[in-house]
Point group: C2
Chain length 385, copies 2
């Protein structure tokens, strides 16, 4: 077998920190070496031709550390070139085949400048979204138009009421797609109109964000229709349309709209605890790389099961240093009550989007009054903490 | 609150069978009712306006049955209209937010004619792929070009050898994307050339299937480049580019190529066991709806952890009745050895694609000889069983 040299390798490497279930350090090391193979050459190591493939292309085990009972943290580095500098292939290298092996979890990506440079990241981020809204400091308020089954006209009227009451971001419920009872285009027109009418009264800059959940070949068309109609942003669920769809929309200069990511169908990556992706990587690092300006996730204490610590790690990840890639807003949803706001402000800080859905309706049939109440509540609590 | 009627509801419903972790039947029933809400209106039930929304739009609990210790099987039906007859929204209704709740698993979709009609499904399926290959009966053989790091020229030579030895389907390793050391276009040209040269010698119809793992905005362009260059099919990883990308490619009449789906990044849906999607739904039902003609998954007994029973359920799902939607090939990969072929033939039948990667190289440096050996092995075993 001849020596193989791989042209164009810069020597730049990035790393992934995995958590590995193993009975002892030797077994953890073996699992880590399996990841090195599985995520790169996927080939019997003794049959690799000598040269750059085993020396550089193959994943490299950098460190193994005990992490608690039967858990080890391993750090593996990869040549940046094997990602092709594409998001789809980057996630493939990070976890493609290893996602199929139980007991392996991606804890954190340790990317370096060459990879950061390959991605634009969020177009607006925290600062840009605040500028669009004209809200420099306080927590932002978001609600969802629902329930599914209402007509576009009813949803538009609901958008008007919510905007009138001082909500900053009004999004479609994630279950609204292009159903006959409230078709995408009609819904966008009605909701844009409702929000514009309210903004005219309030003097504020509430944004309406329709949900883009259609076939891939309609995604850009629907996005541009929404922009031209006057939508202030877009909601996208990467679990439904693919993470790269977020990047595609974020990179679109003629679109130029803030993006809110929704966690639909992403839960399976984080629910098992010992497999999958960490909350930090999925809801922070990957969403920022893809270009979401805000990330929705279930708040602790609500009807989902995220812990306070997991929400803290998402919050940390939305603002951790990532080269030129902007910090984004955490948008915890559900589980909000009068009592929970002070603790949420302590955890997330004031750079947060409070997402309130059913709770707004619980306040009474006058949604504008419910929204005012919600905004006042956050304001009072913020100033008393 | 006024009565709301939702226009356009046909009364047609489809069902999803979930497995639910619960301590007793009452608690299982409560979790099931939560799914009914979560997957549709996501709204406090007592605040829903009376009429069609609670009566039809809301998910409907049809049955609860004990399924073993602390597990219940529940059947929930949904109005077909809430899917908007789009694949992205169908999977959203089936499992969007519920994916975030531990202990809920989709066991099976029970779709009905109106939903089947909304999807073309696999363009070729088992019969069509056999016709393309001119192989009416025997199991098909597939291999992957690797390791990553080889040049396009080396991969093309490898494709030639494998085709010469009688492999039917030669695919890129799923780690090959558009890296500088073997760029997509150059790789396609070299591999198409290698396979064509071998087909000229053998008189067979081996197909080369490049991996489409690029940014969404290059997907169709790369697919058509491959087709025009002479590629015989395409491999797509729905976990990387989104399930709807498969549908988009399958529906493309000017493309008209068979599609092989790869499980990269899909593992987290099935590894936890008590959450996520069943093997039956993910690798069979959803892949067929999307339009894959063959589905790759890890075989039992190899370096992944799928059990024989799980592989059996995938095999069943590739051919279960789904209206006009064609049966597709199961393509179990890994874990093949001399000893395992008889049992695999018994499990999968002869409508199977045997995917052999590293094992082919293990046979020796002459890949054509390895391929011949592999084909003979399968042929002998098939006729002796």
């Amino acid at each position: 077998v001849h020596h193989v040299s791989v042209p164009g390798l810069s020597g730049d490497r990035f790393a992934v920190i995995y958590s590995v279930a193993a009975e002892n350090e030797a077994s953890a090391r073996q699992r880590a070496l399996d990841i090195c193979l599985e995520q790169t050459v996927e080939f019997p190591p003794d049959l690799l031709p000598p040269g750059d493939i085993p020396d550089h292309i193959l994943g490299r085990l950098e460190a193994v550390e005990p992490q608690g009972s039967n858990r080890y943290q391993v750090r593996i580095s990869y040549a940046v070139e094997i990602t092709g500098f594409e998001l789809t292939q980057l996630v493939n290298v990070v976890f493609g085949n290893s996602s199929i092996k139980p007991g392996l979890r991606v804890e954190r990506l340790a990317l370096t400048a060459p990879l950061h440079r390959a991605f634009r990241g969020p177009r607006f981020g925290r600062t840009g979204l605040r500028e669009l809204l004209g809200v420099p400091e306080r927590p932002l308020l978001c609600t969802a138009l629902k329930p599914m089954g209402l007509s576009a006209a009813r949803l538009g009227e609901m958008a008007y009421q919510c905007a009138l009451g001082g909500i900053d971001l009004i999004k479609d419920d994630h279950g609204l797609a292009d159903q006959s009872f409230a078709p995408f285009r009609e819904r966008v027109l009605r909701c844009v109109e409702g929000v514009a009418r309210a903004n005219h009264v309030t003097g504020e800059h509430c944004l309406y964000l329709p949900h883009l959940a259609g076939p891939l070949d309609t995604l850009q068309e629907r996005a541009h229709f929404a922009r031209e109609a006057g939508a202030g942003g877009l909601m996208v669920a990467p679990g439904l349309v693919g993470l790269d769809a977020v990047r595609l929309l974020a990179n679109d200069n003629t679109l130029n709209l803030p993006l809110l990511s929704h966690p639909a169908l992403l839960g399976s990556y984080v629910t098992s605890g010992d497999s999958g992706l960490s909350h930090f990587t999925l809801f922070g690092q990957l969403m920022r790389l893809a270009g979401a300006d805000a990330v929705i996730f279930p708040n602790y204490g609500g009807r989902f099961s995220f812990s306070r610590g997991e929400c803290q790690s998402i919050s940390d990840s939305t603002r951790s240093p990532m080269g030129h890639i902007r910090p984004i807003f955490p948008a915890p949803g559900g589980g909000m009550s009068l009592d929970s706001v002070p603790d949420m402000l302590q955890l997330y800080g004031s750079d947060v989007i409070f997402l309130i859905g059913g709770g707004l309706h619980r306040h009474g049939p006058d949604l504008a009054a419910g929204a005012r109440h919600f905004r006042e509540l956050v304001s009072v609590t913020q100033h008393s903490t």
